[in-house]
């Protein structure tokens, strides 16, 4: 045996040591190799779910310590969870990776960007360098451009915009579409403005578990103070965090319904509060990992699209539970930009194969990643597929014909 293999470590130290039984379940069958987007691009066994499980098993047996190299492996992951979905042995891969990251945080072996992120969120309650006052800057270009009009004391519905859509100009189209839709449906809604804090997902996903409870408490109470019955979110990761993580970190009752905008738009369409007018073109839909696989919302966005008269809908070959990640998940971009963009290009190929003119996403992150990949494709081969977010499509449909008539 190799000398390295004899390294003995202080056993109690790591959370992963408690997961030895779960790790033993991995039969090394290799099924996950066929699905992991990272492996498909790198063909690097050490980055596969199988490889990751074997490394953790070695750690749990005291054969190996957490090293920088191991840290690199665990942060090279889009958190798409396709591996978990397809693992026939039922290995809780997501939980194992999460545990590993949390251990890595404890031993101070994690990518530098996480410190920057942590710092920003702690100082300004958002993931950017801006102060949280800027949360409503995107409102200014609207006809009713006064931010104060969008923040009420009380409202039936709260729309939680999310950091990226609040601060990144290229995503402003999403919240701008949503408020116009809510207005046109005469919904009594409010934004949280400065009182909206980062949901905590970027930290949770990086393995910083304790950070979430403050965020959860603050945000839940902010919504409660509006006496809202319903919370709507447009970012799938915020949605996932609110729906599936917050209950773990909040003792009190969450006494309002939580919906993703795709679910809420469908409801408004069904209640005839939104009237969809004809559009044309062939449309396909990309399931964001955090909305689809990780939260189980598959049909509502499709149903909204299909409710638009005049369009032709086509699914991607790998869809719903089997949808491939766009590469933008899990903060991979900040760890390995080149790899994330390779994954995005392969997603773009899938989309092009459907022959659609438009690909709809329900996530500002997927939207950005896929759009960048499509632009590259356009340069290379002159194929053109328009990338838009569901609320933007819906707004187009609501306004359809207006300019012409």
């Amino acid at each position: 045996m190799e000398p390295e293999a004899k390294v003995k470590i202080k056993k109690e130290k790591f959370e992963i040591l408690k997961k030895a039984d779960d790790l033993f379940v991995c039969s090394r069958c290799g099924t996950c190799l066929a699905y992991c987007p990272i492996y498909k691009q790198t063909l690097d066994e050490s980055l596969t779910p199988r490889g990751k499980m074997s490394l953790l098993e070695a750690i749990s047996k005291g054969k190996l310590e957490y090293t920088d190299r191991i840290s690199e492996k665990f942060y090279t992951c889009t958190s798409c969870n396709l591996c978990k979905e397809e693992c026939p042995s039922g290995v809780k891969i997501d939980e194992m990776i999460e545990t590993a990251k949390s251990d890595l945080i404890d031993v101070n072996k994690y990518p530098e960007v996480i410190d920057i992120l942590k710092d920003r969120i702690k100082k300004a309650y958002n993931i950017t360098f801006d102060s949280n006052i800027g949360r409503l800057d995107w409102v200014k270009a609207l006809p009713e451009g006064d931010p104060r009009k969008y923040v009420k004391e009380k409202a039936d519905v709260v729309y939680f915009v999310g950091c990226v859509s609040s601060f990144s100009p290229r995503s402003f189209g999403i919240p701008r579409s949503i408020v116009q839709e809510l207005d046109s449906a005469k919904v009594d809604y409010t934004l949280l403005g400065e009182d909206e804090w980062c949901c905590g997902f970027p930290l949770l996903n990086s393995g910083i578990k304790d950070a979430a409870s403050d965020m959860a408490k603050h945000n839940i109470e902010a919504v409660k103070s509006k006496k809202a019955k319903l919370l709507v979110l447009s970012c799938p990761s915020c949605y996932h965090t609110w729906k599936h993580e917050y209950p773990k970190y909040y003792d009190g009752e969450i006494n309002f319904e939580i919906l993703h905008i795709s679910e809420y738009l469908l409801r408004l369409v069904k209640e005839k509060k939104i009237r969809l007018k004809p559009l044309s073109g062939k449309i396909t839909y990309h399931d964001p990992c955090d909305l689809g696989r990780n939260s189980g919302v598959y049909e509502q966005p499709r149903d909204v699209i299909k409710s638009i008269p005049g369009i032709e809908y086509v699914d991607l070959e790998a869809n719903r539970e089997l949808s491939n990640c766009c590469g933008g998940g899990g903060n991979l971009e900040s760890v390995n930009q080149a790899l994330a963009s390779k994954i995005a290009l392969s997603k773009a190929d899938e989309i092009i194969k459907t022959g659609a003119d438009i690909v709809v996403t329900s996530c500002q992150q997927c939207n950005r990643t896929i759009d960048a990949a499509m632009k590259k494709k356009k340069k290379e081969s002159n194929v053109k597929v328009k990338v838009i977010d569901l609320p933007e499509l819906v707004l187009q449909s609501i306004n359809s014909g207006k300019e012409n008539s």
Binding site: A5, R28, C29, A34, L43, L55, P88, S89
Partner: protein, 461 residues
């Protein structure tokens, strides 16, 4: 450990393709047997020339070289049991040529099996061998193990589709074997020798594979039985009636329940056995054959027999069958899968023998397999972390092998000997045959550098 050869490896393939860190080597230390042997170095290769240079280096320094495909092997073939170089083939994954007129495709050996059929889908052609692992396994691994699949009864196994191969010999020469003609008898049939050689005689770098037209029609049939005996009799009778089905898979109760736990597709958990059958061919012929199959099932007391309702259900059923092995691993932490194969006519006896053994040792065994080929996969469900269980498992394996050989069967139908079955070779081979195998190995690989320690046993022990 003297690793002077590492810089030379780096010169051959580039430093980024030479994997030396302990962490990363660990991930090249296992396969689906779940055994672990740490290679001294893992090397990702891109062409035959690089491999040839590595082999020459290995001969100079006397370093073992073990080819590695996707490491889905079930007999430990790609494990570097003597250390040395793990030769990682997965980057050699290109389709080199498609020849629809002669029904041939030429690929690099590291290509994923399923990708071969995908590459010719648009031409309405397919590559028949379809091991359960085809979404991950490589063609090189398939050839080296002579992998079978679900369609073996009608379409045969990997060796039936290998026209020619490019091989790097253990002495470094790059050679071609076989011919892309329909017939060829020039010289010894070395392609067949390489096929199933488990990476001990040469490294396959390219292969020209045969294709077939996708059958015009197919029907999937599902039948439930009260026990495995009725199901096995049905298998025998279907073939005796002159119907060669494309697939004829058997699944027992333990496995049905494991699959249902995983996939939740509504299989009846109470039945004792299930047959999954597919007939394919020309349109009218398929209907006639499907009728015969259904009649034979009924005549053998099937509790229920019906066709798959639609394509979706059909796909679900086959996905279910493919998930059999991995689903079983949900029941117990260790799954030891055997590969015992007998003539179809002896299958009932083998099933009974396995049941007896399971009872005798009070061991849970889930059995499924390619019933049409007489190839069963009795899978021992255990926990090898517990010493008594591990010991009992050994005994169970040995008794299953004894029973198989007594019925005129073979140790392995498709998963190979590798290291896990090596010590049972004596049960099946005679001494002169074993010696002949060693002589063949020696004439290919005089320095014994290629995959040493495989298909090898201590005969006198």
């Amino acid at each position: 450990m003297d690793k002077k050869y590492i810089p030379e490896l780096e010169k051959i393939v580039g430093p980024e393709n030479v994997i030396t860190s302990f962490e990363e080597r660990l991930t090249y230390s296992y396969d689906s047997t779940r055994l672990e042997y740490l290679p001294d170095v893992a090397v990702k290769v891109r062409d035959a020339q690089q491999i040839s240079s590595i082999i020459k280096l290995a001969n100079d320094y006397n370093i073992p070289v073990t080819p590695r495909g996707a490491a889905t092997g079930l007999s430990g073939g790609c494990l570097a049991v003597k250390g040395g170089i793990s030769l990682v083939m997965v980057e050699m994954n290109k389709v080199l040529d498609i020849n629809p007129i002669d029904l041939l495709i030429t690929v690099e050996a590291g290509i994923v099996t399923e990708k071969v059929s995908k590459a010719v889908e648009h031409l309405k052609l397919f590559y028949p061998p379809d091991p359960g692992s085809m979404k991950s396994s490589t063609i090189g691994g398939n050839i080296a193990e002579n992998a079978g699949g679900l369609r073996g009864l009608k379409y045969g196994v990997t060796k039936d589709y290998i026209n020619s191969i490019e091989v790097v010999l253990p002495t470094g020469e790059i050679v071609n074997m076989g011919s892309n003609t329909v017939k060829a008898v020039t010289g010894y049939n070395l392609v067949d020798l390489m096929c199933g050689s488990e990476g001990t005689l040469g490294i396959i770098t390219k292969a020209t594979l045969g294709l077939l037209p996708v059958p015009a029609d197919k029907v999937s049939i599902l039948a439930f039985f009260k026990d495995m005996t009725d199901a096995a009799k049905t298998v025998r009778d279907i073939v005796a009636e002159g119907v060669i089905t494309a697939t004829l898979e058997i699944v027992d109760k333990v496995t049905i329940n494991a699959i249902e736990d995983f996939l939740k597709i509504g299989l009846d958990r109470t039945v004792g056995a299930m047959l999954l059958i597919e007939v394919d061919g020309q349109k009218g012929a398929v209907e006639i054959e499907a009728d015969i199959v259904m009649k034979v099932c009924s005549a053998n007391n099937a509790l229920l027999v019906r066709r798959a309702k639609n394509d979706k259900e059909r796909d679900e059923l086959w996905a279910a069958r493919r998930a059999a092995l991995s689903s079983l691993s949900r029941i117990k932490p260790s799954t030891i899968l055997e590969d015992a194969t007998v003539q179809r006519s002896k299958m009932v006896e083998l099933i009974n023998a396995v049941n007896e053994i399971a009872k005798k040792y009070n061991m849970l065994i889930g059995t499924f397999g390619h019933a049409g080929d007489g190839n069963l996969h009795p899978t021992i469900l255990t926990d090898l972390r517990i010493p008594e269980e591990a010991e009992k498992t050994e005994k169970v394996i040995e008794e299953i092998f004894n029973a198989t050989i007594a019925l005129g069967g073979t140790l392995s139908g498709e998963h190979g000997i590798g290291i896990t079955k090596a010590r049972y070779l004596k049960l099946e081979l005679s001494k002169p045959v074993y010696d002949l195998m060693k002589k063949i190995k020696n004439s290919f690989d005089p320095d014994n550098i290629l995959n040493p320690g495989k298909m090898e046993c201590n005969w006198d022990f």
